[in-house]
Structures are given as C-alpha cells and as structure tokens.
Amino acid sequence: MLAILRDLLRYNVEFRIGIVLVGFILVLSMLSVVSPYPPQDVYVVPPDVPPSPSYWLGTTSRGQDVFWQLTFAIRNTLLFGGTVALISRVLALVIGLLSGYKGGWIDRVLMSVNDTFIVIPLLPMLVLFYFVMRDSMSWLMLALIMACLGWAYDARLIRSVAISLKTREFTQSSVFSGMSTGEILVQEHLPYVMPIVFSTTMNNMIWSIGLEVTLAVLGFTDINTPTIGGMIYWANQHTAMVAGVWWWITFPTIAVIMTFIGLFLLAVSMNEYIDPRSRLGRMGRVAS
C-alpha cells in the first residue's frame, strides 16, 4: 500500500497535484475545529467587510466570517460526499460481486434494475423528494437517498471484474474446498476489486457533492447546515454579486472547484495505475 503511494507520488504528476489540492481542502476543513464562531451564529462580525488582515476572506452580509464559515462548509460537504460514497460502495460491491459471480437469472434481474438506475434522471427525482419532505429533509436523509440512487454505474464495473474472476482457477478451488458464496465473494474476490472501489469512490464523491451543491444552491436541502452549496445559496439570497460582495461567492466557488479537480485527478491517476497497459507505458518512460 505504502509502496503504491510512493510510486504514484514519484511518477505521476496528476496524483501529485491531486494530493496537494485534496490535502489543502482537508486541512481547511479540519480548521473548523478551532473556529472562534459557532457555524450557525449570524451577526458575530461586522457585515460586508472586504478581505482584510483581520478578516482574511471578508465577511458576509449575514455577519459571518467567510473563512471560518468556509471551513465548516467544506467539512460538511466532504462528510456528505464521504457518507454517500461509503454507503453506495457497499451496495455496488454486494450487487456487482453477486451479479458477476452468480450469473444466470440473478445477474439478468440485477443488471436490468442496474441499467434503469443508470438511465433515470436523478435531479428531478431528488427535487420531488425534497418537495414531499420539505423541512423534514435532513442532511443524513439526503445522503441516504443519494446513496440508494448512486451505486449503479460502479456495480456494473465491479460485475465486469467479478465475471472474469469467476473463471479463474482459485475460484474453482475455493468452491471445491467448500467455501460458501459469501466467503468466496468477501475473502477471495473482494481484494481484487478494491483498487476499482478506491477510484470509483473519488468519482462518486464528485457526483454526490456536485448534486448536493446543485440542490443546496436552489434551496432544496437543509439550508441551515453550512455546506458549500448552502453558502452560495445564502450569497444568492442576499444578491451578493450585484451588491458587490464578490468574496462571499468567489471563495466557496474556488474551494469547490479545487475539491472537484483534486478528487478527479486522484481518480484518474489511480485508474491509470490499475490499467496494466498504461503501467507498461510508465515503465518505458522511466527507463528512457
């Protein structure tokens, strides 16, 4: 594991940039622990102060310090993406491994459902969900429902690997040695799909954070929990751009772009690492 990290750091520019971006964002989110103001409080600092030595990123029209608000927002946004990714990874793994290993009608049924979830436009679904739930819509509930909707694409990916694992000799010998399906999937097949799981985690976080930002900006989430989208929502509510309070909207936007590009670069470099063809190419580059 550490050797992989070292290799990636040494030979992969994308990975290096990704690590720097994600690391910066992580540090920023951890600073929320030492914030002098609670995240929910408003009018704790003078409103509409431009970036200055005393307020690094300025203050909002609601009298909040943009910098400290941003640390909470990033923390919540990352937690949200992580929660969705974690739950949907479990779903994708169970469905993908089972479908690939079992084959037959189980595979056909699961993959039909799977393809449906890939195709259905999710934003209107989530909007409908918000419409029904309204104020009872909590942060965790949104994460749960997005996890239930966001596993399909990765399940297909995992299934394609599981199909090839099934024909390998060690699967046969596990069957003959009397292992149950569950044991084979968890002990024998799971380690082989872990690299894919890691890289899809990044992509899934990009997807869920992107949707969360979109919903929050429209005001379709729990807007009192500070997230990046929530910050932009409040800035729009106070017409920050027109009022000239540009720092209120610019800094969250920069933070979220850094998060997306960082996560994406990590996913790309991991994919490249997994793909044997590009690994050969990389060895060639090092040798020459």
């Binding site: 449906t116 195709v119 259905i120 909007v127 900006v217 994406f264």
Partner: protein, 334 residues
C-alpha cells in the same frame, strides 16, 4: 437479421422497465413518506393570511382527490398510473387554471432544442478532438487541450454556469444572460425571433457544451490511445495506408462504439445539467418550470415534470440504442 430484431426487442423491454421503475419510484417518494403533502400545501397557502375553516376543509378534500390519496393503497396506485398514462396532472396550482400538461408542452420545445443541439455539438466536437489527441500524442496544442478538459470535466454544471454568468453578466456584458428570447418579440417564425432565440441560447448551451466536450475528449483520448496499439492499426500503418484514413476508418470508428453507449448512459446526467443551467439563465424550459413549481408548492406540476423527464430521457436512450447497430455491425450478426 434475427439478431437485429432480438436486439431491438431487448432494448424495448429495457425501455419499458426504465419507465416502469422510474414511475414507481416517483409513486413511492410521493406516497410512502411520513409527510402529508396535502397538509403541507394547506399550511403553505394559509401561512399568507387568514382563511375560513370551511374553505380549508373544502381545499383539503379537493387536494386529497387531486393527489390521489383517496381509497385503498391499490386504488391509489391505479389512479396514479391512470393519470400518468393520460398525461393528466390536473390544473396547475401556481398558474391556475392552466392544465399542467399545457405548461409542460409549452416548455418542452425549449429544453429539447437546448439539449439536442448541445449534446450533439459536444459529442461530435469532444470525440473528434479527443480522437486527434489520442492519435497525435506529441502535439503540444492537443496536450494543452487535455489539461483544459481535465479541469472542465469534473466541474458541476451549476458552478460552470455561475462562472459564465459572472463573466458575461458582470465583467463583459455582451450576451443576454436571461430568458429564452428578447421580451418584446412575438413568438412567431421571423428572422428577428430566431436570431434572438439563438443569441439567448448561447450561454446555457455553452455551459452544457464545455463540460460535455471535456468529458468526451478525455474518454475518446484514452480509448484511441488504447486502439492505436492494436495489431490491425500497426499493420495498416506498416502497409502504408494514408494516416488520415487510419485515423478515421481504423481507429476512430472502433473507438466510437463505446462512446455511443456512453452517450446513452450519460443522457440522464446531461438532463440534470440542463435543469440547473436553465434555472441559472432563466431559460423557459422544463428545468425552470420544475424549480419554480417547487417554490410555488405546485404538486401536480412537480410530479408532471418529473414523469415527463423520465419518459423523455428514456426515449432519448432508446433512440440512441436503436441507432447503435448502424455503427456496430456485429449487433446484426449476434
């Protein structure tokens, strides 16, 4: 030929399944939640002022009927399907008494136009440039394009639309940033109207196209860089086939096949993008309709737009699936 028919039959079954599961999801969301949508709407209406108790009771009865909350669970379910199959979502509450179906029919051409044009432009452009970048791997300009695509692809549609809005709305106001056409023009088939529609579509389309080109570019580049190492490409090059011909008929054509499947898969995501882009630029399409309907608490309209978008996206996927055999002749044989 029989392979082709089997392929089409399979796609049709999948289409029906997508619509079925999608509509059922909508049913579960609207009916299995602990919150009563009727009481929600009533409290939304009554919060604006005092309403007589009899009027509230009257409203409660008519809303329960409208939401299909009368009768047993099975009856409710059947009523739900009947409404959807007839495209009857009742009158809109926010634009009373216009029927929901009329509102959607009015908005649909805008969204369809925006989506079809921007999807085709970004798919063609992204694949063409990505193909070139995968084939001519030494080109500096194409490498730079790759870096830009890396930055564009993971961006959510909202953020890019917001950036475009800031650039063209505040910093360099040369393009209209709101509406579908100029306010004072009648919606008739005149050149002035068409020009105005095009001008207003530039920014919403651009935000969809930029992200789209980024994604297709990256996908195509990695596909092509894998295909060029195949034996038949090496053979063709050694045999002295013109390099442009190798690129178009040997490399691109084979790499394009997964990209067609990719288009079908990502259609739902592109539609999501259109919804938010329309809202940012005040484009009079289905997306703006949906968001405004939520703000206005218009249940019929929200449900109507959701089901129509499931149907629309599934039809789009079906059309792509049916065109697929034209590109991949293997489907006809299998």
């Amino acid at each position: 030929m029989s392979g082709y028919l089997a392929y089409i039959a399979k796609r049709l079954v999948q289409f029906v399944l997508v619509v079925f599961i999608g509509i059922n999801l909508a049913y579960v969301i609207t009916h299995a939640t602990p919150i009563d949508p009727v009481e929600q709407s009533i409290s939304a209406v009554t919060s604006f002022g005092n309403t007589a108790p009899e009027a509230i009771e009257q409203m409660r009865i008519s809303l329960r009927e409208l939401y299909g909350l009368e009768g047993s669970a099975l009856q409710q379910y059947l009523v739900f399907w009947k409404r959807i199959l007839r495209a009857d979502f009742g009158p809109s509450m926010s634009a009373f008494p216009t029927p929901v179906s009329t509102l959607i029919a009015r908005a649909l051409p805008w969204t369809t136009g925006l989506l079809v044009v921007s999807t085709i432009v970004s798919w063609v452009l992204g694949n063409w440039l990505g193909g070139l970048a995968g084939y001519y791997q030494k080109s500096r300009a194409l490498k730079l394009l790759g870096v830009i695509a890396m930055g564009l692809h993971p961006m959510p549609y909202y953020i890019l639309a917001l950036l475009l809005l800031i650039v063209f709305g505040f910093l360099w106001p040369v393009l209209p940033i709101g509406g579908g056409s100029a306010m004072n023009l009648p919606e008739t088939w005149t050149w002035a109207f068409a020009a105005s529609v095009l001008q207003h579509a530039i920014l919403p389309a651009l935000s969809l196209i930029l992200i789209g080109v980024g994604s297709w570019f990256l996908g195509m580049r990695s596909l092509v860089s894998n295909v060029v190492t195949e034996d038949y490409v090496v053979y063709a090059e050694l045999a002295g086939v013109d390099s442009r011909r190798v690129l178009s008929s040997y490399v691109m054509r084979n790499a394009l096949i997964p990209q067609v499947t990719g288009l079908a898969i990502s259609l739902g995501g592109i539609f999501n993008g259109a919804v938010i882009t329309e809202k940012v630029f005040g484009y009079p399409g289905v997306g703006s309709l949906l968001v405004d309907a939520v703000y206005a608490g218009d249940y019929g309209l929200v449900l109507g737009v959701t089901t129509i978008s499931i149907l629309g996206v599934s039809i789009g996927v079906l059309v792509i699936d049916l065109l697929y055999p034209l590109l991949d002749p293997r489907v006809k044989v299998n």
